[in-house]
């Protein structure tokens, strides 16, 4: 097989090829490494690639496969967002403050993939500490949208989305705190699944907002996302918030029709500023679902209007504590010539964090301060409960919800960097799933006349990943375009 053919494979196709002996894991690693070497200087999807280690892992996987052994991902190269700890690799979170840090352990998600034979190819760019929606907040470099180099790939998992959609990775891991898997998937034209809160262990995920963060797969097809999710799901004693719910065989349960499925369309999601192309593509998707046998009902999520304010209070409050550990004492960057501990913290953190991270730490510190705690943090928690209740009521009458993933397609690099609030408002359709802890999937559902992808968001009840995967897969199959490498 040619390098171009190898790099265009889905995970399922690659597994079939490996089984048939059409290619080896080493072939896959070599082809991707060469492509990264050639094209990533421009695309900027990766922050580091460890070809030697990946090749060694691929060789081991090939040997295991030849011996009739090996797990469900034996020999499949995967790209990992730079926020997850992989033993022996740097984990910078695209921040200067983690300069020199090498992870001493595997995140649970990584350990699970490793146990199934996955090969860790490299680490992908992101907004610093996952704070942002364009990957422009990376302290390292810009990542471009593979569909159009002038546009952002979205964020914060922009590097993972660009790598998967841009032919530099067969699949990737992202993390989603307020849309950071789904929005870049929509912007770049790939599949992104944010699992329910507690579905995937967060142990080893450098925390941004602990009550919102989730790790999830970013892939070229829904079936691939289903396979990865089967492996990632499950309770972990190292993460007290992980949930001991049974893990269904997601991939095997996929169907091409939607008979017997009830889908809800939230009345509140026709927001001002919704791009006409996005609106049209999502309406077509709704019609397609109907044609596939689904019953479509209108539902109401009345507290949606408060979601962004609530999200930015909860997320920044938690972040202000989570990021306090980066102080120059134990690992990462340490500024020289400090006079005392406080001076060390100030100098290290001033030099180590970028402006968006500082903005959010300050905001989070403020909302938790005595005198403001009740007005902001506690109130936000109450609204969060109301938002969760909205979804519970909606899911009492439907199996999944259909919404746009983002109000607009990808924007130009630099277009919103001077206006953080405008950037925050782009999260309107995605943050609610994190606040409510439910499952959310983004699948491509069209493109603008300029060729920018549009994402359909499918939301499902907590621990019902099978619902959103089924709707996503039926849509993907019915559109018939399949994965375009």
């Amino acid at each position: 097989m040619t390098a171009a053919e190898l790099n265009a494979l889905t995970v399922h196709d690659a597994l079939a090829r490996l089984d048939n002996g059409d290619c080896t894991s080493v072939d896959l690693v070599d082809a991707l490494a060469a492509e990264i070497q050639t094209r990533d200087g421009d695309l900027g999807a990766f922050v580091s690639v460890d070809v030697d280690t990946a090749r060694a892992e691929a060789e081991a996987a090939d040997r295991a496969r030849a011996a009739g052994k090996g797990g469900r991902l034996c020999g499949i190269p995967i790209a990992v967002k730079d926020v997850l700890n992989v033993r022996g690799q740097p984990c910078t979170c695209a921040s200067r403050i983690l300069d020199g840090y090498v992870a001493p352990y595997d995140a649970t998600a990584i350990a699970r993939l490793r146990a199934e034979g996955a090969v860790f190819l490299g680490r992908t760019n992101m907004d610093e500490f996952a704070m942002g929606g364009s990957t422009e907040n990376s302290a390292l470099h810009v990542t471009r949208n593979p569909r159009n180099r002038a546009y952002v790939p979205g964020g914060s998992s922009g590097g993972s989305a660009a790598a998967v959609a841009g032919g530099l990775a067969l699949c990737a891991l992202g993390t989603d705190t307020g849309g950071s898997i789904r929005q870049p998937a929509a912007f770049c034209g790939c599949v992104g699944l944010k699992p329910s809160y507690g579905r995937v262990s967060r142990y080893g995920l450098t925390a941004f907002a602990s009550s919102l963060d989730q790790i999830g797969p970013m892939t070229r097809t829904v079936r691939d996302a289903a396979l990865l999710q089967e492996i990632l799901s499950g309770v972990d004693p190292l993460d007290a918030t992980s949930v001991a719910a049974p893990v269904p065989p997601y991939a095997a349960q996929l169907t091409t029709d939607l008979r017997g499925v009830t889908l809800g369309v939230p009345a509140e999601y026709g927001v001002e500023g919704l791009d006409a192309g996005v609106d049209k593509a999502v309406r077509e998707a709704i019609a397609r679902c109907r044609a596939l046998g689904a019953r479509v009902v209108e539902v109401s999520l009345p507290h949606t209007a408060y979601a962004i304010a609530t999200y930015y209070i909860v997320a920044t409050a938690e972040a202000s504590a989570n990021l306090a550990r980066f102080d120059g004492v134990r690992y990462g960057k340490r500024c020289a010539d400090a006079q005392d501990p406080l001076d060390l913290y100030k100098r290290t953190r001033a030099a180590g964090f970028g402006p968006e991270v500082k903005r959010r730490i300050i905001l989070g510190t403020y909302v938790l301060s005595s005198g403001y705690h009740h007005a902001y943090y506690l109130k936000a928690q109450k609204v969060r409960t109301l938002i969760r209740r909205d979804f519970e009521q909606a899911f009492a009458v439907c199996d999944a919800l259909l919404t746009p993933c983002t109000p607009t397609p990808a924007f130009r690099i630099g277009e919103k960097t001077q206006d953080p609030l405008q950037m925050y408002l782009g999260d309107i359709f995605t943050v609610t799933a994190n606040l409510a802890g439910i499952a959310g999937l983004s699948v491509p559902c069209g493109a603008t006349p300029e060729g920018l992808p549009i994402g359909l968001q499918i939301l499902g009840p907590a621990m019902k990943e099978e619902n959103v995967l089924r709707v996503g897969h039926a849509n993907e199959t019915a559109r018939g375009e399949g994965w375009i490498g």
């Binding site: 004693p237 007290a240 918030t241 409050a317 938690e318 306090a324 550990r325 980066f326 004492v329 005595s370």
Partner: protein
């Protein structure tokens, strides 16, 4: 004018769990720096806490011992502040939903029992230990994450002595509950102290100061004596006590200001999102209550009742759980509790005091003490020899039976043999014999001593006295 003192304590107690509060690292004192650490207790990126259930059980057991209400729902919170002893720069603690609320500890300081109300007991993680060198500072994270139970009292103590006696009573309960090593040298118990004074007759408490991190009970006593006097002097001279945190300098014997109220931290508490709330069922709590160890007061009553030892002795033994455990073990083997108690109250306590040793580590075992008691009861050993053997056992250990055999220490109780010695002593000392017969009774004592000397201390002194009396009265020789 007279003043009233009000004192409240926050007592931090390290729990004796096998592993730390939120990770699998061992709880170990005295290990080389940073050898019991992992990504969790070092606050590495991505590491998450996993709750040690054992620490919850020990905290609840303490609460049950002092009559607390046990919360069936409690939770952990983050307390944020930047300091190099905090790996995450926030501490996981319990803010508004502690594991235990209310309760009482009765402290008896000799001038009557005093009841101190407990406000709450919560669970948190200990911090690292900082060491300052000439050019730099070092942080040892071995202690970071050790389970720490904080016991907060109401301001019910009205003198530094009250606080001291409260701490002794609390330590006793903690030992009986078997929840902590209670080793003050190892920092198992550390106190923060609140103190205020007010003019007699005034209801409302005065402005309080806080003294941080006192790690001996005597330190608490001395610091409070100094601080309460200082505050009274401030009021006497027309000043106002400033609300502040002060540090006790044990060497200088005084407290000095660390930071004022204005500089107080804003800890920005919020619920720890990485941990689930601690939910206990009534059934669990009932089971723990049923399995509670005996309280010190109950044990004292039982010792008097079952072993027939004096009330006072029982009080002294029970005051230190290890001492009482030792007593009961020895008494059971010796079948003579009173004799064991006598040894404990006299020789044992005296030597423990002189050598500053711990009853748990002395070489003399309860079995050895029991053997010694049996040897005396069987009149194989006389009391003087027994004391010498006790001292030796205390210092180096050993088996009294074997020692008696090896050294031929067994008491001579043979009438014939002792009679011969008595005869010899009388023959060698005609003067005292005549004195006795002339009415000087004290002369008999001298003669007994001479007989004992001849027997190298092995003669049964009672038998010696009896035979001597007979022979002197008999008028022989």
């Amino acid at each position: 004018m007279n003043y009233r003192i009000s004192i409240g304590l926050e007592v931090h107690v390290q729990l004796q769990t096998r592993s730390k509060m939120f990770c699998g690292c061992a709880v170990a004192f005295g290990a080389a720096p940073n050898t019991h650490v992992c990504p969790v207790c070092l606050g590495y990126p991505g590491a998450m806490p996993a709750m040690n259930r054992e620490a919850v059980v020990l905290t609840v057991r303490t609460g049950l011992m002092i009559g607390s209400t046990i919360s069936t729902y409690s939770k952990f919170d983050r307390k944020s502040y930047f300091y190099p002893d905090m790996p995450k720069n926030y501490q996981i603690t319990q803010y508004d939903r502690p594991l235990c609320e209310n309760g009482t500890v009765v402290a008896d300081g000799g001038d009557g029992a005093k009841t101190v109300r407990i406000r709450r007991i919560h669970l948190e993680e200990d911090v690292a230990k900082n060491t300052h060198f000439a050019q730099a500072s070092g942080v040892d994270f071995n202690r970071a994450g050790v389970p720490l139970m904080e016991i907060v009292t109401q301001p019910d103590m009205t003198s530094p002595e009250d606080a001291f006696h409260f701490l002794l009573a609390l330590k006793q309960i903690l030992q009986y509950a078997d929840v902590s090593g209670c080793n003050l040298e190892e920092g198992n118990i550390r106190c923060d102290v609140n103190c205020s004074v007010r003019p007699e007759g005034q209801e409302e408490l005065g402005t309080k100061t806080e003294l941080k991190n006192l790690n001996t009970f005597k330190g608490v006593l001395h610091a409070l004596k100094y601080e309460s006097e200082r505050q009274m002097e401030v009021l006497r001279t027309g000043g106002r006590v400033a609300q502040e945190t002060r540090r006790w300098d044990a060497d200088a014997g005084e407290t000095y200001s660390m930071r004022s109220k204005e500089d107080a931290h804003d800890y920005r508490y919020f619920p720890e999102p990485d941990l689930m709330p601690v939910v206990l069922t009534e059934g669990e709590v009932d089971a723990w209550r049923a399995a509670l160890p005996e309280m010190p007061g109950d044990r004292r009553t039982r010792l008097v009742r079952d072993h027939g030892i004096p009330e006072y002795d029982a009080g002294v033994l029970v005051a230190d759980k290890a001492l009482a455990d030792y007593f009961e073990a020895a008494a059971k083997l010796a079948q003579n509790a009173k004799a064991v108690s006598n040894w404990m109250m006299t020789e044992m306590l005296r030597l423990l005091g002189e050598t500053e040793r711990d009853i748990r580590t002395v070489p003399i075992t309860p079995a050895a003490l029991a053997s010694l008691v049996k040897l005396v009861d069987a009149r194989t050993l006389n009391s003087n020899t027994a004391k010498e053997i006790f001292a030796e056992l205390f210092a180096t250990g050993g088996d009294p039976d074997a020692m008696v055999k090896q050294r031929g220490l067994a008491q001579v109780s043979d009438r014939g043999a002792i009679g011969a010695l008595v005869d010899a002593a009388m023959a060698e000392n005609p003067g005292p014999v005549a004195d006795f017969r002339g009415g000087k009774v004290a002369a008999a004592k001298f003669l007994v001593g001479q007989v004992m000397k001849k027997s190298k201390g092995k003669a049964d002194p009672q038998l010696v006295a009896k035979l001597l009396e007979e022979k002197l009265a008999g008028g022989g020789m």
